[in-house]
Amino acid sequence: MVLKNLMNRISLKRVGLAGKLSSMVFLLGLIIYIPSIIFGAISNLNIINTELAEYKQGVEVRVQNAFEPAIWNYDIETLRKLITIELQNETLKSVRVSTEEAKIVWLTSIDNMVVDETVAPKGEYIDKKVIPVFRMDEKERIIAYATIWYDHSTIRNEYFTSLRNNFFIVGVILLATSVITSTLSYVRLVRPLEVIRNSMIEAGKSSMELAKKKIGKARFNNAFPEIKNMASDLEYMFNEIDEANRKIRENEAQFRAFFNQAGVGVSKNIASTGQIIIVNQRYCDITGYTAEELKNMSYMDITYEEDLQKQLVLTEKILSGEIEEYILEKRYIHKSGKHIWVEITVTRLWNQGETPTFFMAVIQDITDRKIAEEKLNRLNNELEDKVAERTRDLEDANYELESAIEDLKAAQTQLIYTEKMAVLGQLVAGIAHEINTPLGIINSAGGTIDRILRNELYNVIDFCNRSSEEVCELYSNLVKKSKNNADTQSNAEKRMLRRRYFEAAEENRIKVDDEIIEKLIDLDYNEETDDFIKLVSKPENIEAIKAAYNTAVLHKSVGMIRVSTEKASKVILALKTYSRKVTCSEMVPFDVVNDVETVLTLYYNQMKYGIEIIRDYEEVPPVLCFPDKLHQIWVNILNNALQAMNYKGILKISISNDGDKVKVSIANNGPAIPDDIINMIFEPFFTTKKLGEGTGLGLDIVKRILDEIGGSINVETNPEVTTFNVWLKT
């Protein structure tokens, strides 16, 4: 039925195209021929009219010339003959010759028969003309009137006949042309086009095989070359399309396989309504509905009410173009009524700016995860309860611990003090030396004073009593000079001088005791050789030198006792300061420079042989601290520094203002602290010293003390210099 209709349509169309073409040719012929026919007809009409006029004129001439003698002679018979002859012409229907008074002859031709007739012929195309007949030599004299009736229907007929013939011939030509045109156009144009068209229709119906067959079978020998080309192009195109289609089918098959076998649910929905167009098997599995059931539903129908609002907001955003896709966790209502948690990813399938068409939604069942999460939450809550319970237990334990810490703190304070005393113990030997040396000097100086007082004082007084004023003056000058010039010469210089004096005495052959020269040198006597010779050449002067020497030794000894006492008391003061145990509950302002110096005094003995101390002290305000603990900081840093330097090198101690703090830097040029232990040096019980040499608590204690008084410490080390910086609050 369908095919038949199609066939009808095709044939109609076919006739239509060929017909249109031929009728166009026909019309074109008509447009060209009709004006020429009209023109021909008009010119024919003129010819006919001229012929008629000539004929009329001929009749008139003959009437005048032939009829005139017969009329004048009144020869009726001849006249009748002449008229009869004239009437043989078809056109002339009737001739009447009459005078003004009466008719002479009236002959009429009826059906080629000449009869006497007195009635004028009647007819549509019959005209009447009256011709006056003049007397031959008297032109103004009319002798009769010849009236003629002539009929132009014959000429008309002839004219129309020729016109009809013309029309007929043109018609035939036009028709033939049309037929040829339509035949040619059918063969060369319509039929090939029809084939092409048919194959295209087949192609349009996606039956590419059929289309290819149709166009392949057809012969285009008669067709226009353009159409031939078109056909072969089309065939090529069909092949290409067929190949493309094949690939598309392949892809489609692949896609379908993916779609159906995907581990996630996939649906395509109408953007505006949410209505489901297509779903895959997994989608059905997740929701519990069949694909058929879902086709008449919207995603909204199966979405859990509480979650719908969230999704509608997102849908609105995607529809407005604000976002391209969204991911949401929501609940569907399974066909069985239970809730299913899914993660849904919705993507739009139209481009920005286009009218929304479809959504693609991918869903994943996350119900298990959600259940696990809930379980986790529950466990969390239980855990929190347990934690709270444990916290209470811990608080109790903490309370106990705090009191233990209190005890520990007390023990720690004791430990710090003990460490301090341990350090002191290590120092004691050196410090003892520092006290013993001055004591030895005092002892020795005391012995010397005692000896001089006992053995020599009498000699000195005696010498003063018996000596001249001059010699007494020499005595007091030598004593003064000794006091003023103390230690201006080195030992080597003194020896040189002594040698010079000795040689001078020998040269001058003066007998001078070596002891006297030595005493003079010890008295810091340093005069020209001549003066020396003068001095020693007088025996009384020798007495003065001896007395002056004894007096100077007394002075020196007393001076030594004073200096040594000062030294010893300084050490003892430092010791006292260091070992003082004052339990202050609050920090007090304290002179840090003094404190550092105290420690340096204690260490003097250990440093005096190999260490050069550079002091760089700024004027600083007192620092806030517990004074009995502060010097422990310096002791520990200094102790480490000295050990690191192996008691040799340069120790630089800087005290400066650093903002509102006082900074004490103790730098030594010993080797750098290795990288691998630099972070451990402040740890308790960390030591690089041999067992028994250090407690490993030193720097830990330093840190504790600094923490307690709000100070801080750091260390910078490199192969040239290692510096401990301490900041103290003021």
């Binding site: 002892n443 010397t448 000896r451 020896r495 003995n605």
Partner: protein
Amino acid sequence: MSKRSAIICVDDDEMILISLKQELMAHFNGQYRYETALSAEEALQLIDELVADEIYIILIITDWLMPGMNGDEFLMKVNEKYPDIQALIVTGYADILAVSKARHRINLSGVITKPWSSDELIQKVKSVIGCN
């Protein structure tokens, strides 16, 4: 020079040198020359000078701990060059252990501890000089 024998005292503390010299002078009077040096380096120079002057050095009394060259190192050097020179060491209590460790390496005749008593010093000096 008239005195052909000398006692040399070496210490970095001048007061000690003065004390020592006074003690020795008080006891031995002008019997010997008493030379002093503030360091071991100076003492080595001094020894060379005295030897050049043909002065016989009968004793060196030296401190143990000194800046620069220490007493043991100093005495080792002296011993290398002049094996006959006797030596006494003056030292603080703390150094006695170190001194006794070094004793066999140097020509050491005795140790005097600080603070010394006058009698102890003189007795030790006498015993060394007497031995000679």
